[in-house]
Every structure is written in C-alpha cells, then in structure tokens.
Symmetry: C2
Subunit: 374 residues, 2 copies
Amino acid sequence: MTRFHFTIHATEGKARTGTIRMRRGEIRTPAFMPVGTAATVKAMKPESVRATGADIILGNTYHLMLRPGAERVAKLGGLHRFMNWPRPILTDSGGYQVMSLSDLRKITEEGVTFASHLDGSRHLLSPERSMEIQRLLGSDIVMAFDECPKADQPREVIAASMALSMRWARRSRAAFDAGGEQAESAALFGIQQGALDEGLRRESADALTQIGFDGYAIGGLAVGEGQEAMLATLDFAPQQLPGDRPRYLMGVGKPDDIVGAVERGVDMFDCVLPTRSGRNGQAFTWGGPLNLRNARFAEDQGPLDPRCSCPTCGSYSRAYLHHLIKSGEILGAMLLTEHNLSFYQQLMQGLRDAIGTGRLAGFAADFRRDYFAR
Amino acid sequence: MTRFHFTIHATEGKARTGTIRMRRGEIRTPAFMPVGTAATVKAMKPESVRATGADIILGNTYHLMLRPGAERVAKLGGLHRFMNWPRPILTDSGGYQVMSLSDLRKITEEGVTFASHLDGSRHLLSPERSMEIQRLLGSDIVMAFDECPKADQPREVIAASMALSMRWARRSRAAFDAGGEQAESAALFGIQQGALDEGLRRESADALTQIGFDGYAIGGLAVGEGQEAMLATLDFAPQQLPGDRPRYLMGVGKPDDIVGAVERGVDMFDCVLPTRSGRNGQAFTWGGPLNLRNARFAEDQGPLDPRCSCPTCGSYSRAYLHHLIKSGEILGAMLLTEHNLSFYQQLMQGLRDAIGTGRLAGFAADFRRDYFAR
C-alpha cells in the first residue's frame, strides 16, 4: 500500500508537474482542491465534483467538529463514507477558521479555547485535539495545527505567532505519529508561517524541515495582503521548502493567483471562490469573470464560455443562467458551481500539460491576455 | 406527426392505464407531472428529472409571464430549449396563480387585471392573452383560462364562477384554434369547475364536452376542502367527463390522494409537494413521510427508504441527509427532491403496472397498510 508518494514528472523554471499517490487515489499536480466545508461541496453531488476533474477535496475541521461532530462522523464510518466521496480528502487543522469564525477566543500555549458560532458552546482546539479530530474524520492529508495571524501586524507579533505555530507543528507531528492506524495510511503536512517576511519564512521552513513532513503548506497568505504582496512572498517562500515534497498554498485563489503561484513552484491549492462565487452568480471564464446578474445577459443565447467543455456550457445559455440567478433558483447555484469548478480544473489541466511540454511561459501569457482582455 | 393520441391499455374498475402520444414524446398514464414553476424543477437538473421517470413537466404561465416574460422566452427559442427539457410540457393557464399570488386583482368578463407579486407592475390575463402566452412559451398541453374559486363559498358564487369559466373556456378554444402552428402541434385541455357540487360539475362537464377538448382537467379541488370531500367529489366528477380522453386532477397531491384519485378514474396529476417538501426536509417513503430534521435520524445509517431505487437511497444515509438539512446545505434539497420525485414516479409505475395486470385493489390496500403503518 502506498501511503504517500510524490513524483515530479517535469519542471519548467520553478514550476513542476507531478503525481501524488495515496491509497485512496492519485492527485495530479498542480492540483486544485474544491472546498467541502460541511461534508459537502456546496450545490454539487460528489460524482459531479469528480466529473469536473477533481482528484481530492478539502474538509474543514472547525465546521465538522461542531456539526455533526468528529466522534459522530467516526461512528458513521468516517467522512468518506458519510459524504460518498471515496477519493482523497485533505482536512485543515481548524486553526484558520477558529480565528476567523468563532467567538470569545483565548489563545494559550496549550491551544485555543473558543465559542461555537452555531450555538455558543465552548470548545478547545489544540495540536493534539486537532490531530484526534482529523483522525476521527478519516482524513488522508492531515494539516498541522497552527495560528494564522493577520499579515499587517508588527514583525514581533508575526515572529511570536510563527514560533508558537512551530511548537504546535512539533506537537502535531508527535500526536499524529501516536495515532496508530492513521499514521500508517495518511499523510501529515506542516504549515509555514511568517507573513511577508523572508527571514521569518526561512526560520519557519527550517523548523518544519527539521521536524519532517510529507508535504509543506504556505500559510498566512491570501489574508488581505493583496496579490502583489502575495506573489512577492511566493518569489521566495516555496523555494525555502524541500523541493521533493508537495507545496500547498492554502486558501488561494483567483485563477490569475493560481497561475502566478504555479509559476513560482506551488503544487496544490484550495479556495471557496469557484463554489461561493457560483452561488452568487459569478462565473469564471477564459475571457475573465462574468456577473450573471447583469441585465446584458438577459437575452444572450451563447454559453457562459465557448471554450469550456462543462455540462453547463454544453446545455444552457447565459440568458437562462441570468434568469435562474435573478429568480434565486437553486439550479442557478448548481449550474454555475459546476461550471466554475470545471473551469478551475480545466485551468489546472492546462497548467499541467503546459509544464509537461515546456510551454508554461506561453500558456501563462495567453491566459493573462485573454483573462484580462476586457 | 401525432398531435395528440390517447390509448387506454387496460382498466380496473374506474381506473385506467394508457399512453398519450405527442410529437415531443409519450406520456404513460396515470402520470405525475413535476412542477417546473419558473422554467426549472427546483433543485433538479432536467436530465435528473427525466431519470426519475417523468414523461412530462408543468410550467406556470403566471410566473413565466412575469419573469423572464413570454415574449422573451419565445425570442430565446421557447421554453423547451430555454430550460433544456425536450419532452412534453404542460402549462397552466395562470388562472389559479393569479388568484393565489398576485395583488390588487380585478375580475371582469374580459379577464383578470392584477399587480405582479414581484414588482407591482400591472398585467391582464384573459383567455386570449393566456392562449398567446402559452403559445409563446411553446407549450405542448395548453390549459384553458379559468377562475378557480374557493370551495367553501355559497352555491350561487360557485355557479356564477363556473359559468364564467365556461364562457372563458369557449374563448380559450377559439383563441387556441386561431393560433396557427401551435393549434396543429399542441393539445388544449378544458377545466371542469363546480367545487363539491355534483350538479354544477355536471353542467360544467357538459359545457366543456360540447366545446370539445383533447383532455379534461378537474379544477377547483385541493384548495382546502380536505381529502374526504375531495374523494367524495371524485366519486362522480371524473365519470362526468368523456371516457376516451385523459382526465387531469390539478394540483394533487399527497401519495394517498393520488392512489384514491387513480381508483376513481384520474389519469394525470401535478403537485409541488415532492419538490417543496424536499427542500423543507420532508421525504416521502413507502413507509410514510419522514421529517429529516428530526434528531432521531442523526445517527441512522439506513437509507431514506429501503424499497426505493433512487440515487439518493443508493448512496446516502438518513444521518447524512439529516446533517445536510440541519446545516441548510443545498445538497440536502437536491438529494431529497430527487428522492421524492423518484418515489412519486415509482408510485405511478406501481399503479400503472397494477392496473395493467388487474391488481390495483391489492396494490392500493398494500400501499395504505404500509404508508399509514406508523
């Protein structure tokens, strides 16, 4: 049984394309992971998520621990069986959401105590509890528990937070390794912090590499710093992490963010943008984003994107999608989400093919020309 | 080209099973028509609606005339192309919804003027305008324009309303016949009124039969009179209508309503119950309705209905559906709607098979025993 094996097939500049092999399936990189927050990729059946080309989805520890509860998911046979997704699942550690969603947080060396945004109940998340929850869920790729500070804080705050995350990374590693069966079948990723600071990012990368993980995430970006600052950080951060391990940029992003990050050596992504935007009437296309609420689409008989091969573009007009979104119809959310996830996967396939054949520079230039043409 | 042809294959008592042949496809009777109010069967892709076994769906003239507008639908190639449903569509006349949904109604001999519930704009619905709208939509089965009064009013109010509906039925027939191409490809149904009164129902049936329609609907039921009064009316109303034409009971109903109506000679049904209930967390099963919000399902690993062959029952537990409904997830509405529509179609198939083999009495008895067992 292959627990976790990453092969790089080709490189172009800093960019790489490869395959991660795990017992529940292969993950082609660069990979985009649709977000399945509450044990569902919103408005999509799992077989439709797979049909878009997704090899792996993400589940949120914070949401699942509160509802339906990790122990309950375990009792029901684990997250894969519960939600009918037999392929790999990456679960985050809960560290990010507990900071952005919960109330009455208190951070100590031990972990974070907080009140649920659903019912106010008190909970503790610590490296040990996060590993336990991710084990109960049956996660394939487990994320170390970290603190994700806002990027605009003083260097000493960022440094202290990063140091805490590195101590938690060590505790996560120990707790994961003590997890019995899961330690033999799942993978554990560490998370680099340090905001926009090259020196702190280096310290964090070194600490993580010394502990040793199956893959390395770049955390603390896409938190409001803007694309320019993010890409400037990605000019150095990925290279500080081991080259033979997957690099995962958490919570990113817009299609152009992804292209820029792949050029800088990132292998994995997750983001709510294609699903959330789809529910709000926004479609991503090779010609840039479209807001389907706009009245100019009311009699537009064309597909969302003439270059797209998804079921939505094959069977429905912009006029119909405009009508559904204006009418608040669930089918509008379903069809736009399916298109957006398909578009993201077509983008990833384009990036993989381009790197595989040494055409990434041209692919990225063509992408930007068309995407920003309007 | 077959415009409209109804063949009865078998009868048992008053019940019949048969086939309606139209240019866009066959309709097996007794038939249940899912409701696609605003050019979508809510929370379902059209191919999934078809996969449940539906031969025909219903569209609402009132909703479609207001949004996106009948002229716009025509410009976009008609309702079938707009919503990607190539099979037969029955459209109601708008008469029922204009009474139940709009504001500031004024009824005259000419028709009904009203204010849109969406934006307050003023509109007229008359027999002629209703026929025009249904022609613009491209309807396969067009309903005559009628007034649907509440059943609990004095006999003279019901009688006057019925007489008005019969005058409107004659105008509907004339306007439909003047509609050119549609008159040669679509069918027109008249609507019997008269509430619970056998004499008025007889007068209405005679008036409609004299005008002549492809099929005959029983209107003015399922408007709050209760199942007992409805079935008592169905003890005589269907038999007053021509036996060689399909009989359509509008807006009905619960599974047990449908079984009772089929036993009394009804051939076609439509109802929002399976779709609306699905979005609200209610599932119909052979063992009776289930409310998935109920905490007793939180750890129930069984399918919604062990006798059901739908995709939802094949892949998801009651516990997962409970979680989705509690979490307000769109996928919960999708999966429950798909199950409910599948259940309704399995019920119709069961009724058709039973009538075809002379087992309806036993089928209905078994159905009631299991459905009301709890």
